[in-house]
Structure formats: structure tokens, C-alpha cells
Symmetry: C2
Subunit: 302 residues, 2 copies
């Protein structure tokens, strides 16, 4: 009887201990460690975006990125990804085409709720939520994942362009797809807080990073170097994913982001500049911030 009680107690303590483990601990680091993924979004939209992100991987601190599969330059991403099998590359699941002059639409067929009257994705998240059904979103997400896999690549993670999946209507499909394909999903609570009253249910055992900082227009106005420096200097312990976008401020990118200074060509050039700078490297070292990738988080799912 004593033995049985002991076994039960030990089992209970083990289970509690596993459940209570932070992601940092699950990754094998001591509690209190600052772990960081430096993550560039929006690969695939333009050659400028692709080239700057590839350069930032090779010359800078950037160590993770994700691609828009329906975007026109996806094939250029595929070529680079095949040449860099060690790179941490994921799928930026996309349901919107937000730029005025450059457009894309669904990979799946027969998803009328996902397209506007010109046959492209809507240019904003609220229209997607208003018009698309959960079934259409699942069909499209599945088609994007299947096209990525058909290129002979395995995404290390999933995330959501413009946060279009971070709402009550679509969030469960996002989680479901991650589980079905056994790919870690990035969850951004900051985005969710933008939709008042939305409280998506996160199933138990879903791996969650601790914070997902990114720059907003106010930060751009005040100075990006200062924003990123301060963000890194004050980075809390835990797993953080710092989101940004690398592109060159050239003719192509200025046309993509026509009349949109926010997240536009100059903004993305500043992102590239900071995350390939010696200043960035220095802060990471000084503050003892350790870079990890989604690949290591994905290992926990195996």
C-alpha cells in the first residue's frame, strides 16, 4: 500500500512538473534564459523582399522567416530554400492581398468567400472574417501547406499574415492544421487583443512562445533603431519571436508599398539595416540573449 501511494505521489509530481515546465525549460534551458527568434515575414511577395531576407540570413542576425505561398515570387524562395536546407523557414499562411498594385489570390479553388470582385484576396482582415467560411479557410490553408510540401520542403512553423487567423472564427482551424501536419504554430496574443471580446481557446499541450514583439507606426515615427535596441535591451526571459520584414528600398518595393509608408519600402530597409548591424549583434551579446529557431521548438513535437 505504501509503495502504491509512493508511486502515485511520484507520478503526480512528475506530471505536474511536466505540465508546469515553461517552453524555455522544455527546450532544455534553465528558467530565466532569454531565448529569441529573429523572424522576417512576407517572403515571396517581391524579389526585393526575397533578396533582402536572404542577404539578412547570410550576413546578419536574422535566423527565421516565413513565406507567402500564393505570392508571385514563391518559386524564388523554393530555389533558395533547397540550397539552404539548414535554414529555419516556415509558411506565412495568407488570406489577404493588402497592396494596391501587386495582387495574389487563393491557391485552392472554389473558395468564393475568400475573393473580392476582381478575383483576388480581400485587402483587409475584417472582410475575410465577414465573407469567408471556416470551411473555405481550412481548404485554403490546406492548399497552401500542400503546395509548400509539393515543392519538396518541410515548413518548420506556421504563422499568420496580417494576423488573419488570430480571431475567434478561424483560430481553431489554425491550431487544427498545425496539429494535423505536426508543425508548430506561432500564436500572437497581441493581435488577438485587437479584436475586443475575442477569447480563442488554446488547447492544452499547444506550444506557446512567451512574447511576440514587433514595431508599430508610432515606433517607425520615433525611430526604428531606438525601438529595436530598446526592445532587445528590455527583452524579458522566456521565448520571444521578434517580427519584422526585410526588403530593399528600391523601385520595385516602393511600387509594392505604393502610398503606404507603414510597413513600406523604407520601413523594411530600416528593418534590414538593424538586423544586419553590428549594433544588433552587440546588444544580443551584452544582454546574453540566445538565438533559437522554430526547428528546435518543432523537435518537441516529435
Amino acid at each position: 500500500m505504501k509503495l502504491l501511494v509512493s508511486i502515485i505521489v511520484v507520478y503526480f509530481i512528475c506530471v505536474c512538473s511536466i505540465q508546469a515546465q515553461s517552453l524555455v525549460q522544455q527546450l532544455g534551458y534553465p528558467e530565466g534564459t532569454k531565448l529569441l527568434i529573429l523572424h522576417a515575414d512576407d517572403l515571396g511577395i517581391a524579389h526585393s523582399e526575397n533578396q533582402a531576407t536572404f542577404d539578412a540570413f547570410e550576413k546578419g542576425m536574422v535566423n527565421s522567416a516565413s513565406v507567402i505561398v500564393p505570392a508571385p515570387w514563391f518559386s524564388e524562395f523554393v530555389v533558395w530554400a533547397r540550397q539552404h536546407p539548414e535554414a529555419d523557414l516556415g509558411l506565412h499562411l495568407t488570406l489577404t492581398a493588402e497592396w494596391d498594385l501587386l495582387k495574389w489570390g487563393p491557391v485552392a479553388e472554389q473558395v468564393p468567400g475568400l475573393v473580392n470582385d476582381q478575383g483576388y484576396f480581400y485587402n483587409n482582415v475584417m472582410d475575410v472574417i465577414a465573407h469567408a467560411s471556416v470551411e473555405e479557410v481550412e481548404k485554403e490553408i490546406r492548399a497552401q501547406i500542400e503546395r509548400y510540401l509539393a515543392a519538396g520542403l518541410q515548413p518548420t512553423h506556421l504563422d499568420s499574415h496580417m494576423g488573419s487567423l488570430f480571431n475567434e472564427k478561424f483560430f481553431s482551424v489554425y491550431i487544427k492544421m498545425g496539429k494535423e501536419y505536426n508543425i508548430p504554430v506561432m500564436i500572437n496574443f497581441d493581435f488577438m487583443r485587437k479584436f475586443p471580446g475575442v477569447k480563442p481557446t488554446i488547447p492544452e499541450n499547444t506550444l506557446q512562445v512567451d512574447q511576440v514583439p514587433m514595431a508599430f507606426p508610432k515606433n517607425y515615427q520615433d525611430g526604428m533603431k531606438e525601438f529595436y535596441s530598446n526592445t532587445l535591451r528590455s527583452l524579458p526571459a522566456g521565448v520571444s519571436v521578434l517580427l519584422f520584414h526585410c526588403a530593399y528600398d528600391n523601385d520595385e518595393m516602393r511600387a509594392v508599398a505604393n502610398d503606404h509608408p507603414n510597413y513600406g519600402a523604407h520601413w523594411r530597409q530600416l528593418d534590414f539595416n538593424f538586423f544586419t548591424s553590428e549594433a544588433c549583434r552587440k546588444i544580443l551579446k551584452e544582454k546574453n540573449i540566445q538565438l533559437i529557431t522554430w526547428r528546435e521548438i518543432g523537435e518537441l513535437l516529435k
Copy 2:
């Protein structure tokens, strides 16, 4: 009885005379006139292509162009076309996506014979002929025309990207679509001659231009300025459509035409240079070549 015979004879002469009229005469010019359309293809594929073509319209001799509707920058074309309602703009019907790093696919759904295993158009015409049915091609052409019309624009003409419709299998669909939508179609006999044994039937009363010169790789090697100068200097009488492509030789266009010097970024820059040059303007004047547009040919269909 005499009167009846006279009426029949007069009627017969009139019909013969109408049928025997050359396109030059139908357009109201004396036989022997040299009429020319300076036509830039491939609008829509890249910002570089769009911008160079728009600039060539505004600063140069270029007076006609056509757009690839499924290409990513179609919306930029739409904006410019709306601002330039007088411009002679047509639809470059497209069934191929020939570049390695930048891709597009069908506007229509459920046309499996038109797509490769990555979901894009094939990169060459022979694969389109081998895999696509006539019904699928009609469906796709119709979808491209409908998307163009849905943008609130009216194409002044139709032509065929990479000549994929200039073969026995698809040619009749091309002619049929032109008749159905009452839009003049560009017929390129030079392309047809590339397919041995192909003799597409051209229905009576189909408006046909007389020659469609364009540069080939040998001309690029020998010098484009010389080729275009000689082509213009030796231009025969009749209606000619001189085909070329304007783009800037910049990062974007060099990535589009990655590893393809033929019809690549430098080639297209040379096209732009010539057709915006004083040399070109001078030859047109010296040789008494008169520029016309598809708009005037289209008037004959009304």
C-alpha cells in the same frame, strides 16, 4: 430584265471590291501606305516592365501594348489604363509562365490541363498543346477577358503570349473569342510557320495585318539598334505590327529573366532605348511611316 442584270453586276462588282480591299484601304489610306503599330508586350509581369512601357508611351514612339491578366502586376496596369483612356491597350492572352523564379497560373478554375504539378501554367507552348483541351483553353481565355472587362476597361485587341494560340489546336478558339467579344485579334503567321504542317483556317472577313516583325536572338547578338533601324528602313507597304518588350534592366527584371539573356532584362532595356530614341523618330519620318493603333482597326468591326 436588263435592269435586274445591271443590278446584279453592280452588286457583284461592289462585293468583289470590298473583299479585295486591303486593310490599308479599309482603314482609309491609299494603297502603298506604310502603316505601323509599335507594340510592347508583357505588361503586368513586373513593375519594371509596367513602368518602362508607361514611360515609353509618354516619352517615346510606343503607341500600343498588351497585358498579361493573370500576372501579378495587372492591377498596376489597370490604374494606369484608367488614367489614360486614350491609350491603345489590349489583352495578351496567356497560357504559359515561362520564367523560373516568378510564376502565375490560370484565372479560370478547374482547368487541370493548363497547370503543372506546382499549380502554375507550363513554362512552354508544347506542354500546353500536349496537356490542355480546347475547352479548357476557351474557358481560360474567357476568364481573362472577363477579368479585364470587370476592371472597367475595354481591350482594343487580343494577342497571344509566346504564340501559344498560333497552332492548329487552339487557333479556332482564339478567332472565335475575338468574334464573340467583337475585338480584333492579332494573327502572327511567322509563329505559325514554326509548327510544321500546321495550317490554321482563317475565316473570311477576319481582319489581318500584313506583317508582324520582331527581334530574334540572332538580331540581339548582332545589335538591336541596327536590327530595328533596318526593319523600319525596309518596312514594306501595308499594316505592320512591330513586336517588342520594354523593361528597365534593374534588379527586379534581372531576377525575372534569371539566366535568360534572350528576351531578358538587357534586351528589354535596349527595346526601350530604341523606341524612345530620336533615331527611331527620325527613321519613321524619313521613310514616311505612319503610326496607327488597334483602335482604328477595331473601328472597322463596328
